[in-house]
Amino acid sequence: MGEEKVEARVDFMKYALFLGCLIPQRIPSVELAARKLFERLGVEVLDLSGYSCCPDPVVARLADRRMSLALSARNLSLAEQLGLDIITLCNGCYETLWEANEAMKQESGLREEVNGLLSEVGRKYEGTVNVKHIVEILYEDIGISRIKEIAKPLTFRAAVHPGCHLFREADGGDIWRKPGMLTELVQATGADVVSCKLDRMCCGFPMMQVNEEAALKERLHLKLRCYEELMVDGIITACPMCILQFETGQISLRKYGLKYNFPCLHIVELLALAVGVPTNELKLEFHRSPISQLIEKMGV
């Protein structure tokens, strides 16, 4: 990202927070960290009351595109009602809502059809909302310099796993734009980010439904082996699905005689630690990987 870095915009920032399904239900420490981080950075968030699943970018869209678009548009209309842009903490939610938003903005026939459905429940989506991933908010709206200003340096070797959906861009866009932001955000904490040849590869989460053994042995294991060779202390990602795969996947790999023990954190958890949120306030015990080992290494 280097020269194109966007500088801090520390004026009033307010967004609608879209929590999605996985974070509140499986890793609430990410929700907790995000709320505490926003507070420290002076970002105001309003919850999207009555939101539904984004819905799921793989299963729901394949199952029924009209249903998927109707649910996404309803979620977008909730943010429009608040007059706010949406923040997502999940790559999957980002992709689903972003794509639905673009489709609603650009395809007038589709917008009419979906609004016809929404009107049955008294809603309408005009297309005024922007959907932003948390790394875009942190990098573009808050800025690396603001984060560095308040972050205390952490010392550890980090592997950055962007996750597949973070690479999605509009046609012709730079697919490394958001992954690059994520890497710089991790570096802003003082972490030594190592480059792994398999950074672009999927963690295997979506494959688990289809072929669990292949997802674990031909995706997750290959990445973890690479991290082991690079003597990584912890994995940082921007996606709760990837966290689940890294954490529960390491446990599942043991049945194949493959033992790994890498801690894995979401970027908001890492930044919350870096800006001084006490460890015990983050409830990191929701994780299923050895986070305390990483905390010790970081010197928090």
Partner: protein, 218 residues
């Protein structure tokens, strides 16, 4: 029979058994009825038409029954869709004797039970047949089985998985609201969401049973 006469039959079916005319054109009309109305519908037709044939189609979760009648040169089809879980409908053999063999054939090949059939004996299959009805497929809808749990959860609570009481407790202990402000935390939001599911007919596609709040299972 004139078009006017066919119109009268369709009007009678609509009025008496709340039939829905799917289409009506020259010499052919298809009418959808509730399975429980089959005898009443046949009674309306009985003094004007003759039974021609009964066709069955396995639709995965349901069986479609198409009763074809000749009404003086116009084919009138009564369409009744029965749930595979029960697979039963009243017999019309006493009203239309020509339907007796057609019902027996459908019973054997698709596993449909025609209630109060006068002679429910096998017709086509070899004596001692112990296999399942040969034209009856597995109980499965349009969605692949692996997607079904997600579809069920999306329709019933609006998320990919319900929030467990254990996690609600853990969230509360962590200082978070026990439940996030999601659709499942608001009756109004959930109602709105479920209405959308019905509007896009995803409930039908997934085979959702609104009474049991679950996907139908065979």
């Amino acid at each position: 029979m004139t078009d006017l006469a066919v119109d009268e039959i369709l009007e009678g079916l609509t009025r008496e058994v709340k039939a829905r005319v799917i289409y009506s054109r020259e010499r052919r009309a298809v009418v959808e009825i509730e399975p429980r109305s089959i005898r009443k519908a046949v009674e309306i037709l009985s003094n004007k038409g003759r039974f021609m044939m009964l066709a069955a189609v396995d639709e995965g979760l349901d069986i479609e029954l198409l009763y074809n009648f000749d009404v003086d040169g116009t084919v009138v089809v009564l369409r009744a869709v029965i749930a595979k879980e029960t697979s039963e409908i009243d017999s019309i053999s006493d009203l239309m004797p020509a339907a007796e063999w057609a019902e027996r054939e459908t019973a054997e090949l698709f596993g449909v039970r025609f209630k109060a059939h006068p002679r429910p004996a096998p017709l086509l299959l070899p004596e001692g047949w112990s296999g399942s009805p040969p034209l009856r497929g597995p109980f499965e809808g349009e969605l692949p089985a692996k997607i079904c749990p997600v579809a069920e959860s999306l329709i019933s609570v609006g998320t990919t998985a319900p929030l467990s009481p254990h996690m609600q407790r853990k969230r509360d202990e962590a200082g978070l609201p026990a439940s996030p402000p999601a659709s499942y935390a608001s009756e109004e939001a959930l109602r709105e969401l479920q209405e959308l599911m019905k509007r896009v007919a995803f409930d039908k596609k997934a085979g959702y049973d609104w009474e049991r709040k679950k996907l139908r299972r065979g």
